[in-house]
Symmetry: C3
Amino acid sequence: MEATYETLNLIKDGSILIVTINNTRSEVNLFRQQTAVELNILITSLQNDTSTKVVIFKSGNPKFFIAHFDVIPVPGKFLSPFCVQSHRNANLKIPKGEPDPTAIDAAAFNGRVFQAMSNLPQPVIAMIDGPARGAGNEFLVACDMRFASKGARFSNFEGTLGLHPGSGGAAWMPLHIGRGRSMEFLLSGEDIDAETAERYGYVNKAFETSEEMHEYVMKLAKRIALFPLNGLASIKKTVTTLIQPSAELMASEAVEWNRLLAEPEQAGLVGEFIKKSGNLTSVEFELHVPDEVAKLYGK
Amino acid sequence: MEATYETLNLIKDGSILIVTINNTRSEVNLFRQQTAVELNILITSLQNDTSTKVVIFKSGNPKFFIAHFDVIPVPGKFLSPFCVQSHRNANLKIPKGEPDPTAIDAAAFNGRVFQAMSNLPQPVIAMIDGPARGAGNEFLVACDMRFASKGARFSNFEGTLGLHPGSGGAAWMPLHIGRGRSMEFLLSGEDIDAETAERYGYVNKAFETSEEMHEYVMKLAKRIALFPLNGLASIKKTVTTLIQPSAELMASEAVEWNRLLAEPEQAGLVGEFIKKSGNLTSVEFELHVPDEVAKLYGK
Amino acid sequence: MEATYETLNLIKDGSILIVTINNTRSEVNLFRQQTAVELNILITSLQNDTSTKVVIFKSGNPKFFIAHFDVIPVPGKFLSPFCVQSHRNANLKIPKGEPDPTAIDAAAFNGRVFQAMSNLPQPVIAMIDGPARGAGNEFLVACDMRFASKGARFSNFEGTLGLHPGSGGAAWMPLHIGRGRSMEFLLSGEDIDAETAERYGYVNKAFETSEEMHEYVMKLAKRIALFPLNGLASIKKTVTTLIQPSAELMASEAVEWNRLLAEPEQAGLVGEFIKKSGNLTSVEFELHVPDEVAKLYGK
């Protein structure tokens, strides 16, 4: 099944599937729409895959887990009217091809993929070394367990652009870290680091080094993989019944994302963001997104 | 709009509204029914106020955030039969005027005001320096974020008088600090301090000094106030959909408060409380309420 | 009422009821079906017992709070077909008497008893000194408050045998410690210790010594016991309305336990577990259950 993936790399270690997310076109590991499409294929294939008992996700990028969603329009593929408008507002070059009003509803699609992941029979574990922001964190909220090393950063900074996270950031974070802290997290768009995330209960455990994290997670995964899958799936289902946003709330997040994206102010802000980040290629910009977004307002 | 308030002081700093709660008639900053009435006016006015992006609440009293609700009957205004009965039981002087059986249902009214606050489009932040007990804490549970300096204390001690908190203390605290800890908090009526409240996730962050807290909160508020309000409101709504007690549960809290208040034993305890606190004026008594209530039982 | 109990010892200290759980037939304090039957009688009697204001549970065994459920079939009493099958699979001696297909549905019964405990008007406090695993932890999840000394260990290791906890382990733990940590707890079957349980918010407070814990809990219980019971019960009911698994989810846990128990692989694993633990009598085995279950898989 590896052959079909462009942004994911799959390695099977016994009944443990290790998936490396790597957008080789992007130095900051942008979450492409293609990534979501491939995740969807992978997750669908796992639903009846009794040879896989544990799934581990990590990043193939040394500096970023996932910077955020790639909002640069792809001609003929995901050329949403919004992306084109953002480019126009920021006087950026618009990719060839006309905006496609039937283009995929990225926020809703991604949210459904992440939700399907949280419903898999297999436990899903994420190991995070660098910044995971926007869609990167929306992927993580829906994993079953998160472990982080010192360089990890978590953020849903969509609110800083007047947007709603769109694919589960707001619908999941309060379930993980409570109302007060998710308000600060989501409304400020500031990062939280690994140690804070552990203290908030967002990551199960924070580690000084990536090596310690890998050792802990592989030991945990190997232990879980000993046990019958039908038992693991049964337990996971009960936990998920208790703590998971409803499909309705997830859908409303996407509606809010799209509604706010269509506002001229927000389209302008996203355009400025794209411009200042060098079309989302600047490593320096992406490393310091929480500071950079404040500069869009002259701060 | 400032002109209409007797217990609130409003200062506008750009799009940040700073509200100081100050009952100048009371050295312990009792939460008067008038305070709730004024909060209701303020909150109603904020519902469509697009010039305000963040609301900050603090206390104008150097020693107390809010001691608790003022249960002393006000002649001709809030002269509830309960308050009169408490006074009679404790051989206290009853204010002139007959008890008004149609008097405002304070617990239900306050709960609705606090609930409306949690539904505002603007983020609501509280800074707490001293004790916040009873209605003081019921105000705080419904804020979006809480920050506390070293002298802060939190308590819903209504249970120590055989009462139910009445306006959200029991309906919100478990959502913030979990079942086990809210049971101890509510059933013992003991204080928790700033550091414990941070560890429990009730306050976002605890600070050594009030100055550090003010600096942190003003920086946070100024950052949030940069961003488009419709985005902030959209995010806040999703979080609130997930974590907020239902209107039905809030209403049932008030029913329970009223039911238990009508019990002779409880009316007697409240009367004793009023007497021993010097008609709710003793600073020393109010600083040490958790110890003082035990003395009502001879301990 | 003491006279009727074989596995419980009751002492009344004023309005505080102290219940010591002690299965004198077992060195590891196995949770017998008889224990659940007696708890059911006790809890039923407490529902209208206005002389009792606080209930404290502790263990009478110096080494174990409760090791886990006793799955050894009792002839003529709780001889479930499952237990007989486990014994057959493990070539163990089957107790005399035929399997009784109408035998008590232990998982469902225990879950209902624990649920009834969480609905009592009186606050229920547990003091934990040693390992509380399986049914031992399922008893604890439904208590109102948990306090632990250094030697305490918590585990629901049912998943390591391909089973579902069955009586509330999976339905309650996520409500106490969140999704990420309960996934690790339930799927790995590893212990968490007192300090970790406090950090996760599962126990209210962890103590270095059992003496410190006793002192703290007795002081807390004596304070709560000062206050009117109808107030305490009213508060507890509101908290429970907010945080308690539904009866439906509890019932589905038991269905899952029974479904998975009927699987040949699981029956074999339970049989091996019984054999290696010396018919559940080995103190050494029971002290190290998380390690011992891995050995069933040759690890």
